[in-house]
Symmetry: D2
Subunit: 302 residues, 4 copies
């Protein structure tokens, strides 16, 4: 059996460029009511969750993604007690949020119950039992519809969604209208953070920059950062937004060890500096961006 023969997962990263990943097993492959879902296992990444052909997270590097999404916002907030999670079916975001001792309640909305059930079964290293935490309220309905109706408010809201693809399930959770609704459910001093898609040089960065620009129009402050998640192949962007005057702790290591009930694997003071100092081209792209995602004119990821 030579080096080519065998089972591969091919994934287009952007037009004219695809990744070939040799897989050991396809643990699950099917369609839920909302999307195609695959769980594949590879020597490179361990178990990967793939939704509609896009790798969402993998066993070997999901901690980079999830720590980068959750902890900057959680540690910037002085005392997060109530957390809202939109999406996040693998349970990694939930796991990281629950690690904060201050957290009393997490309300997590993932539209797709089947995805959550499959993740609970196939991705134990992702959730590590966090779905059983009594502080969790897990609901399977549209996050936006829920927020419009709910009378709860939150200290931190974490949007861990699939990318804003045309025809996808999530693009209405990246718009100005959505962010206004979300903001109305934030407690004073609250923070919203969202995964924001690729932030690289060559393609697709419009997702990252328009989300930033949209947040900036709704909140007083919006802060972008990026990180290299190996399974995504291109740098990945995040944005947080708040009306409060918040700063990251100058000593993140100290803050983390004081406020979390576990040691972090990726995020620390020096890593924070690497993440929040964007390369010049991203700062320039952000500065030049003037589009705003609106319900009737969203900027889809191509």
């Amino acid at each position: 059996m030579d080096e080519i023969t065998g089972k591969w997962y091919l994934e287009t990263v952007f037009p004219d460029l695809a990744i070939m990943l040799r897989v050991q097993e396809v643990l699950y492959s099917g369609r839920t009511k909302y999307q195609a879902i695959e769980v594949v296992e590879s020597e490179v990444f361990g178990r990967s969750l793939v939704l509609d052909g896009k790798t969402q997270s993998t066993e070997k590097d999901e901690h980079i993604y999830h720590e980068s999404l959750v902890h900057p916002a959680m540690l910037m907030h002085p005392n997060p007690r109530t957390v809202f999670i939109g999406g996040g079916g693998e349970g990694g975001t939930l796991r990281e949020a629950l690690a904060h001792r201050s957290v009393e309640r997490v309300t997590m909305l993932d539209l797709d119950e089947e995805v959550v059930d499959l993740c609970r079964h196939y991705l134990p290293q992702h959730h590590q039992g966090s779905f059983d935490d009594p502080r969790l309220e897990l609901l399977h309905q549209d996050a936006r519809a829920y927020l419009e109706e709910c009378d709860q408010t939150f200290d931190v809201m974490i949007m861990d969604l699939v990318d804003p693809l045309e025809g996808g399930t999530a693009y209405l959770l990246y718009t100005e209208e959505y962010y206004r609704i979300a903001k109305s459910k934030l407690n004073p001093g609250g923070v919203l953070v969202t995964q924001s898609g690729p932030s690289g040089l060559l393609a697709l960065e419009e997702c990252f920059t328009t989300i930033h620009n949209t947040l900036k129009g709704v909140f007083k402050h919006a802060v972008p950062w990026q990180v290299h998640v190996p399974a995504f192949h291109i740098p990945w962007g995040f944005n947080l937004a708040t009306d409060a005057q918040l700063e990251a702790p100058s000593d993140i290591d100290a803050a983390a060890s004081q406020r979390l009930n576990k040691a972090l694997r990726f995020y620390d003071t020096e890593t924070h500096a690497a993440m929040f100092n964007l390369p010049r081209y991203m700062r320039e792209s952000i500065a030049e961006e003037n589009r705003v995602n609106r319900d009737d004119s969203p900027v889809f990821m191509v």
Copy 2:
């Protein structure tokens, strides 16, 4: 999800040329004591059995391979009552042999019990229950060692093996020494037939031609033929050998409908003519071949 993204099975057909097959499911993937085995399902081929990275047979076209292997020899023999099958784990060769009303006993040796068990489970369209036929004696030991010891003899011996790869399980079942043993267990008027590997223009034809030449040195008559099995991508060769003066029925359709308990799907009079009239380049390659597969100097498929 675009046209590239997704699960693929890649298979090198010969150096510098590989096939990309989009798969719907990987039904099984593992290693037995002897070889790697995968059962993949695709829109193109249905369920495929893959051993050590080589597609062995598929739901959509296995009837072409199995009818081409079994019936020329069975119909050339005037009254086959006892059949020996070497290999053939999917059960397709067995199914075709048992369709001959004259058959009273089939002794099938497939070294790899796990492969047979997995085929019984995953490939019901291949065997169609033939493993339950009371005429079958199924053994899991080396065909050559068995024949050396056994005191049974056979009218037709069908070798349905993996290719003679270096380091593989089967190359000692393609040698002059093996054919002498097998011949000693053939009844008078008996026929031996073997799958013989690729028979195409561009590569690998040495397998086909050396098997033919080896058989010709052991038996009075050796007859080559080939057929296009879509899943193999290159024409596939077979050889039968006998000391008897045998002829194919001039009306294969009539012979088949008289002697089989089912209708054939592929093999008939006109198809026989297509198979047994080799293209010129194959006749030339056969004429030029002077190597003989011997235990200590086999011609491996590269």
Copy 3:
């Protein structure tokens, strides 16, 4: 440098199945007025001509295709003196037609002058100088428009076209209307032959069967055959049609050596038998086909 790294040509053969061919050089890549054209060189096939992403012919096996297209019709005709070629830009069909000593004039129409010029430059092993033969009249205009206007007639008409793809340049040369025009330019006893696309089990055979059925409605006799051309990966079909009562010579070898000024490499008596005895499934598909290609309702190759 491992077994994957390097330059490859990927070609979808049919949905969900593609070929990966390692290439040594891309000798030419561009667009003519009518189509994309590439000349790639590989260890497997030597130089290949690719039009609109479909391999048309390769150095290593073009003789199989061109001999199979040209000589059955030419040898069936008792004395072909005038030949019409539609398409055939590589010059291989021309080369084979000119090898018949009886031929006094070949009128070749290939719409795409750039393709012909590039083939003359890059594919010398294909044409072998045949474009310089004084018996050739080479024109670059639409074959159908030309035939409608011309006052010449022909003994043999050879259609060596790209497949009838929607939006392509050729599908109006596969229709009933076209065949009526062509027939009107055939001399008494004349023969028309056309390449007819894939003729395999699994896909695309509608091209072959509808061309056959269309010819059968226009001519008294239509004869199908197929051959395995390695570069096409699936069996390839041809059809000839005539109003005359013609038979292939019973001894093709003798006829060829008498009537041609060179030895053939592929086509001979036994190969003829392999080609004209179709496998059962193709005979069944042909028998079941009732569609006719018409200008306003062609059956496109998918």
Copy 4:
């Protein structure tokens, strides 16, 4: 022509993971005395230089690589007048070094004259005419042998080499013995900088960490950093080493605009912070590394 069909460059990034890049043209493909060289053009990356199957730099992002390699060392040095470049055949490193107004002489050693000539011809956007600068002395001999013999000394030495692959041309330019030779040719206050291979989470980071550890044993100070170069798919590492007490300018933008004769595209104050703050896992890998590259026991990149 569908999304798969066409010309691709496949490149294994690490075991079980490869990149598929659709190419528009293969501009050059051949072998020099020392290595295989290809220049391919793609929509994604523009023109790419590939040596022995490894992408070295591309038109769209070479400025990231070359600015990251050259300017940290050049700006850390207070007044670099003489520069040594080992490798760097594309001319991008040369271009960046010559942009420093203080530079009076650059001695560039690239073993492979053919590579340099091909780059001059095919990659004008890389070198931008810098090979014609009168300050350049360009030699085609082994950098190590040259340094052992030469009586010149340098303020900055820049090693822009292919990775230390077994059997490759460069691994003896990454060893302790080599660094001692190089150090002996550095002026007081001088700096040596070297590209250092992948610096990612999942594989191959041993190259980066052993180079760092080896430099640390030879020089008083060694400083690692990394950057995301899109064409490399995984983060890329660099190291500089010096015996002097040097600091990066606190305002890199001011220093660059004062000392360079052109504006930089990538490197600036904030980007510097992103590059020199390594993610935690890299700091941990560096801290744990205790191997030293020696001539007789180098750590090859796998």
